[in-house]
């Protein structure tokens, strides 16, 4: 195997490792909210620096390979998609941190009955992240397209949660701070789904060479 191919494999492995860390961070951040689990929240905070460091190192490796190997065709698509996925993974890590910060806020308020069905939305968003990374590993375009199809469902759940929380705030003004925290969590989950969608779009570019961002595919001449 050529040196370049070995380096591409290194980058692929590192992105997958980073993806694993990010998936875990998201899952733990959601548990921290739903179970009011401070230990899970702390673990997410501890892993943030590692994710950030990996983003820098992966960027460095990809840019070096672009500069020195002048890749073309699928290698070029892998490196450009890899750079974007790397950035999306780091943002996903940040969003997990945002959720954890809301979890810590909620921990300071008295424990009450669940306000909204956050676990269902979280499951959908987490599934999208998992499937987008799975599609990256398997170079599976169909799986990537299934992620794109899920984004609207997450948006709908988010809108429902906003609606429900607004009703609670009108009924029980004393619970406004708690409701606002949940709204932020829902917003961050919605953003997580958006980044999973970005990753799936990059997988389609990698596998099929098509650009589906912003419905670009439909705009291209047949």
């Amino acid at each position: 195997m050529r040196h370049f191919e070995i380096q591409l494999d290194v980058l692929r492995s590192r992105l997958l490792e980073m993806g694993g860390l990010v998936e875990t961070a998201i899952h733990r951040s959601v548990l921290a909210v739903i179970r009011r689990d401070e230990e899970e929240a702390r673990r997410v905070l501890l892993n943030e620096a590692r994710i950030n460091q990996m983003e820098i190192e992966n960027d460095d490796l990809a840019i070096n390979l672009l500069a020195t190997e002048q890749p073309v065709a699928s290698d070029l698509r892998f490196l450009t998609a890899g750079l974007r996925i790397n950035n999306d993974l780091e943002r996903l890590g940040d969003l997990a941190i945002n959720i954890v910060e809301r979890a810590l806020t909620l921990l300071r308020s008295p424990e009450t009955r669940p306000l909204v069905d956050l676990p269902e939305m979280a499951n959908l968003a987490e599934s999208m992240v998992h499937r987008s990374l799975d599609a990256f590993v398997k170079k599976d375009a169909a799986l990537a397209r299934s992620v794109l199809a899920s984004d609207d469902s997450v948006d709908e759940r988010c809108a429902e949660i906003y609606h429900d929380l607004t009703a609670v705030m009108q009924r029980e003004p004393s619970r406004i701070p708690e409701c606002v925290a949940f709204m932020f969590v829902a917003h961050n989950l919605e953003r997580i789904a958006d980044h999973a969608t970005n990753i799936a779009e990059d997988v389609l570019f990698l596998v099929q060479g098509v650009d589906v961002r912003h419905h670009a595919e439909a705009k291209q001449p047949a």
Binding site: R2, F4, Q70, P71, V72, A73, L76, Q208, G209
Partner: protein, 276 residues
């Protein structure tokens, strides 16, 4: 192996490829049309059933590993192969719809100029090198000759560097300047097509960049076909690229498609350095 239609052939990997023009038809008119072109050195066949359309006033790059037939193909386009004994060609090559094998070779080579891998200035002055073709064509008027030389050297982006030393030997120029002089010499007879056979292979990156910029300037007035081993050069300069392998045209498409998302695995493997 099943029978193939008249318009199809089997490539070395066993896949069926069409001998009709590869890739999408050019949006602009075809300057050169090639159909069912076969080429032989004695009994050895080196080109197999080539079919493609070279669009007018565009840059077309031909790539492929050594010995794949790309330079031989280039040399069929102005019948330069006829200088080599025991060569034979079959098939059709048309320039603006006219069969090149039926026209005068002198007329063909005036319309289809060529620049070679190694710069080959004549042992004459810079001026006489550029004026050579025009003189052969019967131009004797000194003022007219001077005008042809200046115009050609300007088009070849060499005028500013040599305007004060036109009577010096062409051999006094650097390698990159000599190559641009050869391009100026080709331009002096106002060709419609310029064939370039690895014109930058012996040049440093600065001289290479000058030649590439020159191609961009020239393509507004003539059709350019360049054979290159430098993948990045093809990617930088060409509007469309053809990939040759073992004497066959494997893929011919827009350059951005060839380098971003080629449709043939052989192309992908070659341009990404996995063989060849």
């Amino acid at each position: 192996m099943g029978a193939t239609s008249d318009a199809e052939t089997i490539c070395p990997t066993g896949k069926t490829i069409s001998s009709e023009p590869q890739g999408p038809l050019p949006a602009t008119a075809a300057k050169i049309s090639v159909r069912h072109l076969n080429f032989f050195y004695s009994r050895r066949q080196v080109l197999y059933d080539i079919g493609l359309d070279i669009p007018e006033k565009k840059i077309t790059a031909l790539i492929g590993p050594s010995g794949c037939g790309k330079s031989t193909f280039l040399r069929t386009l102005n019948r330069m192969f006829e200088t080599v004994p025991y060569t034979r060609v079959e098939g059709e090559v048309k320039l603006d719809g006219e069969d090149i094998f039926g026209m005068s070779v002198v007329d063909l080579r005036r319309r289809v100029g060529m620049v070679f891998q190694k710069s080959n200035p004549f042992p004459k002055s810079i001026f006489d090198n550029v004026a050579f073709g025009a003189r052969v064509n019967g131009l004797k008027n000194r003022d007219k000759l001077r005008e042809v030389v200046e115009t050609s050297l300007r088009r070849a982006a060499l005028w500013d560097e040599v305007k004060d030393s036109l009577r010096k030997s062409a051999y006094s120029l650097s390698g990159g300047q000599q190559q641009r002089l050869c391009i100026a010499r080709a331009l002096a007879v106002d060709p419609e097509v310029i064939l370039l056979d690895e014109p930058c292979s012996a040049l440093d990156p600065i001289a290479t960049a000058k030649i590439e910029d020159l191609l961009f300037d020239l393509v507004g007035s003539c059709t350019i076909i360049i054979v290159t081993h430098n993948m990045q050069q093809a990617a930088r300069v060409a509007d469309q690229t053809g990939f040759f392998l073992l004497g066959r045209l494997i893929e011919f498409d827009k350059t951005e498609v060839m380098f971003k998302n080629p449709s043939r695995k052989e192309t992908e493997d070659y341009i990404s350095g996995r063989f060849g």
